[in-house]
């Protein structure tokens, strides 16, 4: 078997001394589509942030494509889709400008964009169905369209692994379908996916494995669990208001 894409070994993470994850181990191999499920505050977003090196580990280790996180440099192999677009300071940016950021990991800081970069941005915009909005300011898009902009940004870098943080929370049905379609194309092309979700919706048929995080540990690792109770109702809309994970200060952007 080839090297695992993600290996998490006995990882522990905490904020300000409060433990969020304790002793979590997880392996994702190439071609898998792994959903991390769990209640609000279970630590599922923290898990993928730890995988990406955005929060420090207290104990344990993370490897990406066989390299320890601290020495991993091939970031162009990873496409990250955050929960939502930061508000920023109000300077407008077009959809295309945001998506073009996704090429930076591949082309580096100093090289100006070339034809291949423009073609990849076009392809990513088409993949999420936003080609006609390329010149519009992202702030004028709906929440679902903004979320599609973020997946296009990740796809533009032509990654091997997509890491998505609650990609469908609060997203309208049309955007969820467009999102699922883009993800399906990515998986069909041999991509690996790690995503955090409250619920899977139209993504459900794509998921090959589910990991349930509960009280900072992994409670289940295997088949996608069936929804129970009122969660199983077909029109159950599972949208929660999200508070920020960390304290937001004046100087944190």
């Amino acid at each position: 078997m080839s090297t695992p894409v993600i290996t998490v070994t006995h990882a522990a993470v905490g904020y300000d001394g409060r433990p969020v994850l304790r002793d979590v181990s997880l392996t994702v191999t190439a071609g898998e589509v792994v959903a991390v499920l769990g209640a609000n505050g279970s630590g599922k977003s923290t898990l993928i942030r730890a995988v990406l090196g955005l929060v420090p580990l207290h104990a344990g280790s993370v490897s990406l494509f066989g390299a320890p996180l601290g020495r991993f440099r091939q970031w162009q192999r990873i496409g990250y889709v955050p929960q939502r677009l930061g508000a920023g300071g109000g300077v407008p940016a077009t959809v295309r400008e945001v998506v073009a950021s996704g090429r930076l990991a591949r082309r580096g800081v100093l090289r100006p964009p070339g034809r291949a970069d423009r073609a990849a941005v076009d392809a990513a915009l088409a993949a999420v169905g936003l080609a006609d909005r390329a010149g519009d300011p992202v702030a004028t898009l709906s929440g679902g369209q903004q979320q599609r902009t973020l997946i296009a940004r990740a796809l533009a870098g032509e990654p091997e692994l997509l890491v998505l943080d609650e990609p469908t929370a609060g997203v309208d049905a049309a955007s969820q379908e467009a999102f699922a379609g883009a993800l399906r194309d990515f998986v069909d092309g041999g991509g690996t996916v790690l995503l955090v979700a409250h619920e899977l919706g139209p993504l459900r048929p794509l998921i090959s494995r589910a990991v349930v995080v509960h009280h900072g540990g992994i409670a289940h690792d295997g088949a996608v669990p069936e929804p129970a109770g009122h969660h199983a109702e077909p029109d159950h809309d599972h949208v929660h208001p999200h508070g920020p994970d960390e304290p937001v200060g004046l100087w944190s952007s």
């Binding site: 955005l54 400008e97 950021s101 200060g249 952007s253």
Partner: protein
Amino acid sequence: MELFQYPYMQRALIGALVIGLAAPALGIYLVQRRLALIGDGVGHVALTGVGAGLLLNRSPVLVAVVVATLGAVAVELVRARGRTSGDLALALLFYGGIAGGVTLVGLSDATSANLNAYLFGSLTTISPQDLTTILVLGAALLVTMLALRPALFAVCHDEEYARVAGLPVRALNMLLAVGTAVTVTIAMRAVGVLLISALMVVPVATAQQVTRGFRGTMTVAMALGLFAAGSGVWVAANADTAPGASVVLLAIALFLVVAVAGAGWRAVRRRRTKAGPPVAEPPEVVLR
């Protein structure tokens, strides 16, 4: 117009134009990351550099570049750690900077006119040597801000994404901090430390009311900065007003004109779209 035959007026104009072009090119990144007033703070710190320069009989501008850079790097380190106590650390730095500057200027042989020149700008006393400094640093700043726009945009737009994309986030943030210090110091001679932030921020605020993208905003903001600087110096020369304040007042006037015109245009457009026959919404329920 004949005033501009004098070399000192030509230097004033050229210096103002360079600063008018360069300040918004950096300021747009500060606005985007909600640090619009950071230039103000770094300006306070630069004043200590001016005081030290006057006291040690060195070029106040060059000493101020060094001190302001140290101050800006300190601010960036506080910001990057994201501590809630960060604003208090910044307050200490800023007020320490201005108090240190006033004290050091007082200890030197300089007069209060010298201090005023740095607090509020003194375009007409720019020496040929000052102008060279402004031109070289301004050109370096412009080239850097334009050439690294995609990377700086990514870092200011979404810092976490930039980290996952493997960008040298810390180096780019430091670059912005150093760029802020350089802008503050070269603009100090034109508009003074108390008005520097206006040149970095106001043209950006004006531009973003009418633009759709980041590149467009940057281009329009630089054009507005250039226009405000040029016309400000012209007005100051003819009406005998303080050049720095005239430039800033013109930049703010442009902001108001664009804001009012934009609001009016939107109102007209709204009325036009309303003029058509109202389209009835489909009923949500049918009552029998």
